[in-house]
């Protein structure tokens, strides 16, 4: 056993800290999940994407030929953790460009799609920004119930239907879309495919959905006779369910490193706040913060275990779900404890983070109002628990 990161990873951490110091505004403390909300934040996020690309960090674990550095999974983990701790925005290239569109394309995409899209994502430019459209009004946890159809007509697919909760659709150039290509398949998991859609295509309409705290993060997306070249099909027609399970695995797997970096930052901020405001001497408060420290260290070490399994060449099945649900539980507790610590000041509108009454740049309020969204994205806690039960404990399917 060895529980230390290597010198390579430690060096990378130092470089990222240096980068954060130089490139982020003084006192920067990003709130999670909200970069797509305002034009100002999005503009800054895109600038940072470009700079991360220049550093070679944006897609560091990809092979060199696709715009990566061939970095190890450990370097990738150190990068995710640090970037989240320092609140560096623009790491994702929209929703999923870096974390699952790229890796899924490498696994299933045609040479043509790989050559076109991977360098675009790796460039950190707006033309490499993605949204991911899975959910529909009648297909939430029951994802296989999707109805949006793509019907082949010569060398095109014609897409009709509606997607919902599509984060960053209003910022994205491309859509990673799950569709039904065989309307008569005997089982609903069959007949599903993944298709790439240019968001500038005729017939694509994005309608904002505003969250209860006033954020514009997700959208409804309507597809009305949208014509897409058939070469935009990812992998095999009707093989989408299998491919999507991999994409969702990549998505869940991306949560842990980022989550523990971010949670650690919030905890550090809260400890500092408690110390400066004479709250740390209260036993109840310091013990709650101690509990959070235990949880976040546990999260970190579990994330490392998942990466270790992957680095040994095995394909962890339930571990990403474990790490994802654990992050959700920690974020929830952190948000509740954090708002409790800020007391009356936690009532501030998280979007007014420059207000003179706002503490810690609004990051605690933002976490409080956004953690339910984090918990639902990529599979609700209940769906993740089903996966852990079925694959981690070999229990019978429960739904």
């Amino acid at each position: 056993m060895d529980f230390k990161f290597g010198e390579k990873e430690e060096q990378l951490r130092r470089e990222i800290r240096e980068f954060a110091k130089e490139e982020l505004p003084p006192g920067w403390l990003a709130a999670m999940l909200e970069e797509e909300n305002s034009d100002e934040d999005w503009g800054f996020a895109m600038t940072m994407s470009g700079k991360l690309a220049e550093k070679g960090w944006l897609t560091m674990s990809w092979p060199v030929e696709y715009g990566g550095k061939g970095a190890s999974l450990w370097e990738q983990l150190a990068y995710s953790e640090e970037a989240a701790y320092w609140g560096i925005p623009g790491v994702g290239m929209g929703i999923g460009g870096v974390d699952w569109v790229g890796p899924s394309l490498m696994m299933f995409g045609s040479e043509e799609l790989k050559k076109k899209h991977l360098p675009l994502i790796a460039s950190g430019k707006p033309d490499g920004v993605w949204c991911t459209a899975y959910s529909e009004p009648n297909a939430g946890s029951d994802f296989a119930n999707i109805r949006t159809s793509a019907i082949r007509e010569k060398d095109e697919y014609i897409i009709n239907g509606q997607k919902i909760w599509t984060s960053a659709a209003h910022r994205a150039r491309w859509c990673w879309l799950a569709v039904r290509t065989d309307l008569n398949a005997p089982k609903k998991h069959q007949g599903i495919s993944v298709i790439i859609v240019d968001m500038k295509s005729k017939g694509v309409t994005v309608r904002p959905l505003i969250n209860y705290a006033g954020y514009h993060i997700f959208n409804e997306v309507f597809f009305d006779d949208v014509r897409v070249p058939s070469t935009n099909l990812v992998g095999k027609e009707n093989n989408g369910w299998y491919q999507l399970m991999h994409s969702l695995g990549f998505e869940r797997g991306s949560v842990a490193g980022r989550g523990c970096g971010y949670n650690r930052r919030i905890l550090d901020e809260l400890v500092q706040y408690a110390k400066e405001n004479h709250l740390f001497r209260e036993k109840e408060i310091r013990h709650k913060l101690a509990d959070m420290a235990v949880l976040i260290e546990t999260q970190r070490i579990l994330a490392c275990e998942t990466i270790w399994k992957m680095s040994k060449g095995s394909n962890p099945v339930y571990e990403p779900s474990r790490d994802k649900v654990f992050n959700d539980q920690i974020a929830e507790r952190l948000a509740i404890i954090g708002t409790g610590l800020l007391g009356m000041y936690s009532q501030m509108d998280p979007l007014q983070r420059k207000s003179k009454w706002t503490k810690l740049k609004g990051c605690v309020e933002a976490l409080y109002w956004l953690f339910p969204g984090i918990a639902i994205a990529a599979g609700t806690d209940e769906v993740e628990m089903n996966i852990i039960g079925q694959f981690g404990l070999k229990l019978p399917k429960s739904y």
Binding site: M1, D2, F3, K4, F5, G6, R17, A20, K21, L24, P26, G27, W28, W74, Y85, W86, R265, D268, E269, V271, Q272, K275, F280, K283, R286, H287, L289, A290, D291, A293, V294, E297, T298, Q299, I301, L302, C304, E305, I307, W308, R322, V325, F326, E382, M385, N386, I388, G389, G392, L393, K394, L395, P396, K397, S398, Y399
Partner: protein, 387 residues
């Protein structure tokens, strides 16, 4: 980073599991619960022959010279099988500090006797205050000629009724902080003036009250330095707590396994109850917690093993172990339904030990306080370094 066991560790794990399954099945655990001594001296000798007591003692004392991490692996197996024996007090609470702080003569004599299974040792630390704070040490010590005289009462001393020797923590000075003025003595359990009484704990795990009435201890039986004994106690707290975590981890693994198996076999409404989400999600949460405890324990242990013990990680591991052991047992009992409420179910043997494990070397409050102290001293990265 590497989460793999070494070849030695895999061998220790396999051998320990085989031995304990054969020599210490659950009916043996039940039998020993009612036994006067509380453990089986024959089994103890076999353990010594396997090299367990001397596992990490140097070869010159008859040990195998393996590392702390290897002992962690062994303790996990003992916890999994609920071995009733004075192994933890002898090895974790006494052999380790004697190896670290003992004089050449003390090590020569004591460690060899421990390694070959001849002698049982235990630590007499806590008193009526029932805490691990230095302020709780009130046992009076006077120097009379060349001997110390010890008077006072120690509580919750594991296996004192069977011990040949006791490490006794006494107060030798009232000056300064409570941490100053504490000394550790190596005391022959047969010395006149020692009176031992087994405390009727729920787990029947042979914790004792030990009364000292002007017990004579020769000067050369001081471990380490006079008035510097709290360093030794701190050493024991750290090394011992992680070994206790490993034992508790083994217990949670066994409980999760038997509960998961039961959920697959028990049919209600024509289905295994594990197919119901109310049960399945509880089990999934147990798995998350048990795996978290496992790697947190290994992480804390690895740092000790590497010579860079982290007070923070050690207290994190014990806080986690206390929570997870209790939670896993409680949910395990509940998932079993009414049979979970019986003595007949093996799970009950784990459940009945929740409190003795929790309060051994620090409960949640004690360790949270230590974590908080560490957090208070840490300068956050975002101050000074950047931004």
């Amino acid at each position: 980073m590497d989460f793999d066991f070494s070849e030695d560790q895999i061998m220790i794990k396999d051998a320990a599991r085989k031995f304990l399954e054969k020599e210490c099945p659950k009916d043996m655990v039940r039998k020993l619960k009612e036994d006067k001594l509380g453990y089986d001296p024959l089994m103890w000798q076999k353990m010594a022959d396997l090299g367990w007591m001397g596992l990490i003692l140097p070869e010159e004392y008859g040990g195998t010279g393996l590392a702390y991490m290897d002992l962690v692996v062994l303790m996990e197996e003992m916890g999994r099988n609920l071995l009733p024996a004075p192994f933890f007090p002898t090895v974790a609470l006494c052999a380790l500090p004697i190896l670290e702080y003992g004089s050449a003569e003390q090590k020569e004599k004591i460690l060899s006797e421990i390694a070959n299974g001849e002698k049982v040792y235990t630590l007499a630390l806590t008193e009526g205050s029932a805490t691990y704070e230095a302020s709780g040490i009130e046992l009076c010590v006077y120097l009379e000629g060349d001997d110390y005289l010890l008077s006072g009462t120690k509580l919750f001393v594991p296996y004192a009724h069977a011990a040949d020797y006791l490490l006794v923590v006494g107060r030798t000075s009232q000056k300064g902080n409570p941490e100053e003025g504490v000394t550790v003595f190596i005391v022959d359990a047969k010395s006149p003036g020692i009176d031992t009484e087994v405390i009727p704990t729920a787990a029947h795990d042979r914790q004792c009250e030990v009364r000292f009435d002007r017990v004579k201890v020769p000067r050369e039986n001081v471990l380490g330095e006079v008035n510097k004994g709290w360093d030794i106690v701190e050493f024991i707290l750290q090394r011992g707590a992680v070994l206790k975590c490993a034992e508790m981890l083994g217990g949670t693994e066994a409980v999760l396994e038997m509960t998961n198996n039961y959920a697959k076999e028990r049919i209600q409404f024509d289905k295994p109850i594990g197919s119901f989400q109310a049960i399945q999600h509880k089990l999934a949460q147990m798995l998350i917690e048990v795996e978290g405890l496992r790697y947190l324990t290994y992480e804390a242990a690895w740092h000790i093993n590497a010579g860079i013990p982290s007070k923070l990680l050690i207290s994190m591991a014990k806080t986690k172990a206390n929570e997870v052991y209790q939670r896993t047992c409680l949910d395990g009992v509940k998932i079993h339904g009414a049979v979970g409420f019986t003595e007949e179910l093996d799970l009950s043997l784990y459940f009945i030990r929740t409190k003795s494990s929790e309060f051994s070397l620090g409960d949640g409050g004690f360790h949270r306080e230590r974590i908080a102290c560490e957090l208070e001293q840490l300068q956050p990265l975002f101050i000074g370094n950047c931004l």
